[in-house]
């Protein structure tokens, strides 16, 4: 708890002293108008304005100047008696300095706020002109008003008349007694760039350690130094069987075979462990295990709801990630290709599946009969999702927080958000062929032709009596087109093309519905005031996040800007991107990240427990050409990783949560490894790699869980109850829950019942009539160790307890218990 408290107060402090300059900008009069609170979401404009204030701006702004008569004592009395009470009654709970939350940025309790600041939509009252005053339109619930106020329901006609009359009279209002200096928030970007996760990464000097023989890898020096500082000492190295079991699950998601364990235990060569590491790193199962880590971040799904368009074959993306992990594609290139392989001259159409990262994004239902105002909100939500997944996955930043207002904690503005949203507003999700355009062109034509014929066919089938001859003719024609077109069945990847989406009214009125219009090319978005696409602010050019850019950074020019975005992530933001990824890998091995908020490296995220270690690893990650396998190798070869998870004595009291890694954390297998291991030990595992997904409900499906169908709308209950993340959103880290429903699944679910039976049969075949040997073998298969004499005794007692003799039934009951046991699920 102390740690948590410290962390909390630490970041509170930083918030308080944050990047938001606290120097209030005095409410200064420039050409007769005020710059005040209304500018707080638009400091870029403020900056621009101070530059160009003597030129163009002056014209546009002068119109907003408000002439109000000096309020006489009589008119103030009128206001206080007749008007103020109405404002108090209907408005002040949301629109005053006393309001718990000021809504719409609008306060109505001082003259300054009322007339000079206004709300997000600007001034709400034009003195003398009720017809032009937003306030009056809102309380009248006018059709064309942006908003209806108060939201609870329309106020009475008399009250509306009273407020209208007041505006007509020139809206007399008492002068403010203490015109206060307005506080404005402006980001000091120079200061913001100094935040720990944004600064350049540096290789660190090896820290001095007392126990100098312990380190095996460079990273161990840092871990040991922290231990020694905390008066802890490392746990001894785990025994070989435990170590290999841990290593095999970590690198491949599968258990080692008894033979592999035995060979390793008996291998006296000095590089015995290193050989195991290299062999497992080179195995194809490595990619299957580590692809899944990435797919959680990428919210991978095989299927979406039937009413949403399918853009291509999802599994091509999954298989692409597996291959990329196996090939050790440099992480920077891995990012570039997922965001923009179509814009990279060095990659061809066969790499299109990489685009699935965005191509498989969730889409939301858009009924085009509805007014465009509604559809715009849905599309804006989709763009937000893209910004969210890209910024959290690659940068550990929650940029989507800045859709409606500047980020509350981080130096990310609304402009930053819309600069990125524009990239996705200029990229259309679509199927892409894996072959060259020249080769694909005839296929495209043939498919269009078939589509046309199929539509005709559907119409014919509605006719009565059924025109059988015509139908047969059409069927033949369809077959001919398909067969005469080479590569007709060529697969399509869920990808992207460079088209910008515009949401337009179908007719003149909102009621006539909406058109989604895609146009070749790209677009910059207008800022959406409060995140509402029906209230537009200024245009924001597409560009990278300002705080991560340097002086020479430019707006994106190459089409949608996806490639420039990807390059900015790995160039301008390389330190952050590297820190984030190194931390994700670390988290997967140790169950806890060096930073405990893996997708939030911003101010409200946690600080690293071992800052120098993270910096050193990240710096060398980049130096090693962003090689993930090099990083994996260093981690698993380290003395830190090789420690035993068993420890007692004072260290346990001193660091119960093992923040300082003076032992290995005991971990629980994820649902994939748990199921895969059952299939492996029962001898049923089908280790085919890649291809379309298969339902997990099908008991004949013996492939790895990675290939089980993930369906956003209809998730496998088996996966859901075992903490598999919701595939609709980026998932930073799996949580582990323990529930009785999981228990029911273990006791009664078909998976364990059937694997138990298969395992019992396997053992019976290998060791007929030898209960004790079967128990020995079961322990070696499941737990990578022989049983103790006591465990053999317990096992035999169970097997023969009912009828003095074991039977296929008691064996299946016994193996069922072993599969359901904690030892099978937990890794020491």
């Amino acid at each position: 708890m102390n740690v948590a408290e410290n962390t909390f107060s630490r970041y509170r402090l930083e918030i308080e002293q944050g990047f938001w300059g606290r120097d209030a900008i005095l409410c200064k009069q420039v050409f007769g108008f005020y710059i005040g609170n209304s500018m707080r979401f638009d400091f870029n404009k403020l900056f621009l304005m101070t530059l160009s204030i003597f030129s163009s701006c002056a014209f546009g702004w002068a119109e907003e100047e408000v002439e109000r008569p000096a309020a006489s004592a009589e008119s103030i009395e009128y206001f206080e008696k007749k008007v103020r009470p109405l404002l108090v009654k209907h408005c002040y709970s949301c629109h005053s300095s006393e309001a718990k939350t000021v809504h719409g940025g609008l306060k109505l309790d001082t003259a300054h706020d009322f007339f000079e600041v206004g709300g997000d939509s600007g001034a709400v009252v034009i003195p003398g002109n009720p017809e032009e005053s937003l306030l009056i339109a809102a309380i009248r619930y006018d059709d064309d008003a942006d908003t209806e106020m108060p939201p609870k329901g329309k106020i009475s006609d008399t009250e509306i008349a009273e407020l209208t009359a007041w505006v007509k009279r020139g809206a007399p209002f008492p002068p403010d007694e203490n015109p206060v200096a307005r506080e404005s928030k402006e980001i000091d970007f120079a200061a913001a760039k100094k935040f720990w996760s944004f600064v350049p990464v540096k290789k660190q000097a090896d820290p001095a350690v007392e126990h100098s023989k312990w380190p095996q890898q460079r990273l161990d020096h840092f871990v040991l130094a922290a231990m020694e500082r905390e008066q802890l000492s490392p746990a001894p190295e785990a025994d070989r069987a435990t170590l290999l079991r841990r290593l095999a699950y970590d690198l491949t998601g599968l258990p080692p075979t008894p033979d592999e364990v035995e060979a390793f235990v008996n291998d006296a060569s000095p590089n015995a462990y290193e050989k195991q590491v290299d062999q497992l790193l080179q195995s194809s199962q490595f990619g299957e295990r580590w692809a899944r880590v990435w797919l959680d971040l990428a919210r991978y799904t095989d299927r979406t709801a039937s009413w949403l368009d399918s853009k291509g074959q999802a599994h091509l993306y999954r298989d692409w990630v597996v291959q990329a992990m196996n090939d050790d594609v440099p992480y920077d290139e891995f990012i570039h290709r997922q965001l923009a392989t179509d814009l990279m001259p060095e990659t061809g159409p066969e790499d299109s599946p990489a685009l699935g990262f965005i191509g498989l994004s969730p889409t939301y239902w858009k009924e085009l009969k509805l007014p465009s105002e509604i559809i715009k909100v849905i599309v804006a939500d989709e763009w937000e999702e893209r910004v969210d997944v890209v910024s959290r996955t690659f940068l550990g930043l929650t940029v989507a927080c800045a859709r409606c207002h500047d980020h509350k904690f981080d130096p990310v503005t609304m402009q930053d958000y819309y600069a990125l949203a524009g990239v996705f507003a200029s990229s259309r999700l679509t199927g892409r062929p894996l072959i060259d355009e020249e080769e694909f062109e005839p296929v495209r034509k043939a498919r269009a032709e078939v589509k046309k014929l199929q539509d005709q066919l559907a119409n014919l089938k509605k006719k009565k009596p059924l025109p059988k001859e015509e139908i047969a003719e059409l069927n033949t024609k369809i077959k001919e087109v398909k067969e005469s077109t080479p590569l007709y069945d060529s697969p399509m990847a869920a990808g992207l093309i460079e088209e910008a989406l515009y949401i337009e009214r179908k007719g003149k009125t909102a009621q006539e519905g909406t058109n989604l219009v895609y146009k070749a090319g790209s677009q910059d978005l207008n800022l959406f005031i409060r995140g509402n696409p029906n209230r537009l602010g200024d245009v924001v050019p597409r560009r990278f996040l300002q705080v991560l850019s340097n002086e020479t950074s430019q707006p994106f020019r190459n089409g949608s800007g996806r490639l420039e975005l990807a390059q900015s992530i790995t160039n301008d933001a390389a330190p952050l991107a590297a820190r984030v990824m190194v931390n994700r890998i670390w988290l997967s091995y140790f169950g806890r990240g060096l930073v405990e908020t893996p997708s939030n490296f911003g101010i409200s995220g946690e600080r690293p427990s071992h800052p120098k270690l993270l910096d050193d690893l990240a710096a060398r990650f980049i130096e090693n050409g962003w090689s993930l396998k090099t990083l994996h190798r260093e981690i698993v070869l380290s003395a830190t990783y090789r420690q035993s998870s068993k420890k007692d004595g004072p260290d346990l009291q001193r660091d119960p949560d093992n923040l300082w890694l003076s032992r290995m954390n005991r971990k629980r297998l994820g649902v994939e490894a748990w199921r895969d291991a059952m299939l492996a030990v029962s001898g049923e595992l089908d280790s085919t790699i890649g291809g379309p997904s298969l339902a997990l409900t099908d008991d004949a499906n013996h492939r790895r869980t990675l290939y089980g169908t993930i369906h956003r709308r209809d998730m496998s209950t088996m996966l859901l109850m075992h903490d598999f993340p919701d595939p609709t959103a980026h998932n930073a880290q799996r949580l582990s829950t323990t529930t009785a429903l999981q228990g029911l699944y273990a006791l009664n679910g078909p998976l364990l019942l059937n694997r138990a039976e298969a395992l019992a049969k396997r053992l019976a075949t290998e060791f007929p009539d030898e209960d004790e040997k079967r128990i020995q073998q079961a322990y070696k298969l499941l737990f990578s160790r022989p049983p103790t004499p006591r465990e053999i005794e317990i096992g035999l007692a169970f097997l023969t307890g009912i009828s003095d003799k074991s039977s296929p039934e008691t064996w299946a009951q016994y193996t069922h218990v072993l599969l359901a046991s904690n030892e099978f699920l937990f890794i020491n």
Binding site: G153, K154, Y249, D250, G253, V293, P362, W365, V377, I378, D381, T398, C401, K408, Q511, G591, T597, G602, S604, G605, E606, K646, L652, R666, K667, L669, G670, V671, A673, R713, T717, L720, F724, A729, Q733, R734, L735, S736, T737, T738, T739, A740, L741, G743, L744, Y745, L747, N748, G749, T788, R790, E791, I794, F798, Q813, H816, V817, S821, N822, I827
Partner: protein, 450 residues
């Protein structure tokens, strides 16, 4: 995939904070640990009329519809998202009911006898006129599929009272539109997700996944459990205490007991003949009775969807379909209210009734009604709600909420309030900010609280 238990970033929910337990324990922690203030309701039954009933048939009489039948009177605001025709009067009669005299339709003769326990919310409104987004909003406050459902929020905030049963149960004889995303836990721990039960068969072992073992009998299972405990404790010897390890041992025992407890909870045959008769026959009757059996055993939140798909979605033949739909719900809801009252459970069980939106007072193709999210009726009963009253008003035709408007956010804020939770303080830190069921909205409608 390997990961460690116990450390959960962002857990700042009330139940978890106050108890300082591991997540697995927090998920099943006892009631009211997390209340921000004394709760009036301890559990909720949400009767979900999926598809969207028309308010003007049932609880919100609009005589003006008859006066202007077939017309679209000048000046009337009747602009629907999709084109609709003239005003379509409801053929069903209303009369004042109970001591309160709140008008209820002749279609609900039995339910109307309980009107003095019911608070009719006539001014509900939502953001989107499509089923999917509206279903999501009613369940999670937004039109997005990426937010936790309210049931998950209740469990997160309050835990459950019976750890041998799931704390959040969704009953539907079939599958409602959008299915499991309506009760997901999204970024909240998965232990808080709803457990979907298809009760089109009322055989308990068919309703609950993996409730029965198809191979071994109870005695064999007991032997297996004993063996499991023995083996697990062998392994644990010499290791430091590990709450995740221990929690799993415990959960297997719980699961073993659940087989029998849940069989009991879900077994309608244990009800008297009289009770079965009182609730009537049919899926919805069974759903209501199951709901009572579950809340009685401490299940925190039960949703009963009326039926498969979206049965209340009457785009055509509206006037023929509605009497049948009402007949299905009238008796069981009346029986549920009477039953809960008689058992002393109504006072702290909140009943919420309604669809994802209402329907238009104007006609769709002459005999149907289209979706209407601008104004619709829901009602609440029990659980600290004032009975025998109406709250809010729609316009003369029952199209838009105009007075004391109550948004879905306000409904959620009020429900949480009744459960002892402050909707602005029940937060979960995720993706860089604190999330709430009510996002940045929501008003507790104190006027309906007793």
């Amino acid at each position: 995939m390997l990961h460690q238990l116990g450390t959960v970033p962002g857990m700042i929910g009330a139940a978890s904070l106050l108890s300082q337990q591991s997540l697995s324990e927090a998920a099943t922690s006892s009631a009211n640990l997390g209340c921000h203030f004394p709760a009036k309701a301890k559990r909720v039954i949400h009767l979900f009329m999926n598809g969207g009933p028309f308010q003007g048939d049932l609880f919100d009489p609009k005589p003006a519809l008859l006066k202007y039948a077939g017309q679209r009177p000048d000046g009337a605001d009747l602009v629907t998202e999709r084109p609709t025709g003239g005003l379509l009067p409801s053929p069903f009669k209303f009369s004042p009911c109970g001591e309160s005299g709140v008008p209820v339709s002749e279609l609900l003769p039995q339910l109307s006898q309980h009107i003095d326990d019911i608070c009719v919310l006539r001014s509900m409104h939502a953001d989107n006129p499509n089923h999917g987004p509206a279903l999501l909003q009613m369940n999670n406050g937004t039109i997005l599929p990426t937010r936790p459902s309210m049931g998950a929020w209740f469990l997160y905030g309050l835990g459950t009272e019976n750890k041998n049963l799931p704390g959040y149960v969704v009953l539907c004889p079939g599958r409602p539109v959008r299915f499991s995303i309506l009760w997901n836990s999204s970024f909240l721990p998965s232990a808080h997700q709803g457990t979907y039960i298809n009760h089109s068969s009322i055989e308990p072992s068919k309703m609950i996944p993996h409730l029965r073992n198809t191979k071994w009998d109870k005695e064999t299972q007991r032997r297996q459990l004993d063996l499991l405990q023995q083996l697990d404790s062998q392994v644990q010897q010499g290791n430091a205490r590990d709450s995740a390890f221990d929690a799993r041992i415990q959960s297997m025992e719980t699961a073993f007991r659940m087989q029998f407890q849940a069989s009991d909870a879900f077994d309608l045959n244990r009800e008297s003949k009289q009770t079965r008769t009182d609730y009537g026959e049919g899926h919805f009757s069974n759903g209501c009775l199951l709901a009572r059996r579950l809340v009685e055993r401490g299940v925190r939140f039960v949703q009963v969807y009326y039926g498969n798909g979206q049965p209340w979605d009457t785009h055509s033949g509206h006037d023929e379909k509605v009497p049948k739909l009402c007949k299905d719900i009238d008796q069981p809801i009346a029986a549920l209210l009477a039953d809960l009252k008689q058992r002393g459970l109504l006072e702290d069980t909140l009943i919420v009734w309604g669809g994802e939106f209402g329907r238009t007072p104007t006609s769709e193709n002459g005999n149907g009604r289209d979706h209407n999210h601008h104004g619709f009726t829901m009602w609440m009963a029990g659980g600290g709600v004032k009975g025998g009253m109406t709250y809010g008003e729609t316009d003369d035709f029952g199209f838009k909420a105009v007075h004391n408007k109550m948004h879905v956010h306000d409904l959620h804020a009020t429900m949480l309030h009744l459960m002892g939770l402050d909707h602005e303080r029940l937060t979960f830190k995720h993706a860089g900010r604190d999330y709430r069921l009510t996002d940045v909205h929501g008003r507790v409608v104190k006027e309906v609280i007793a």
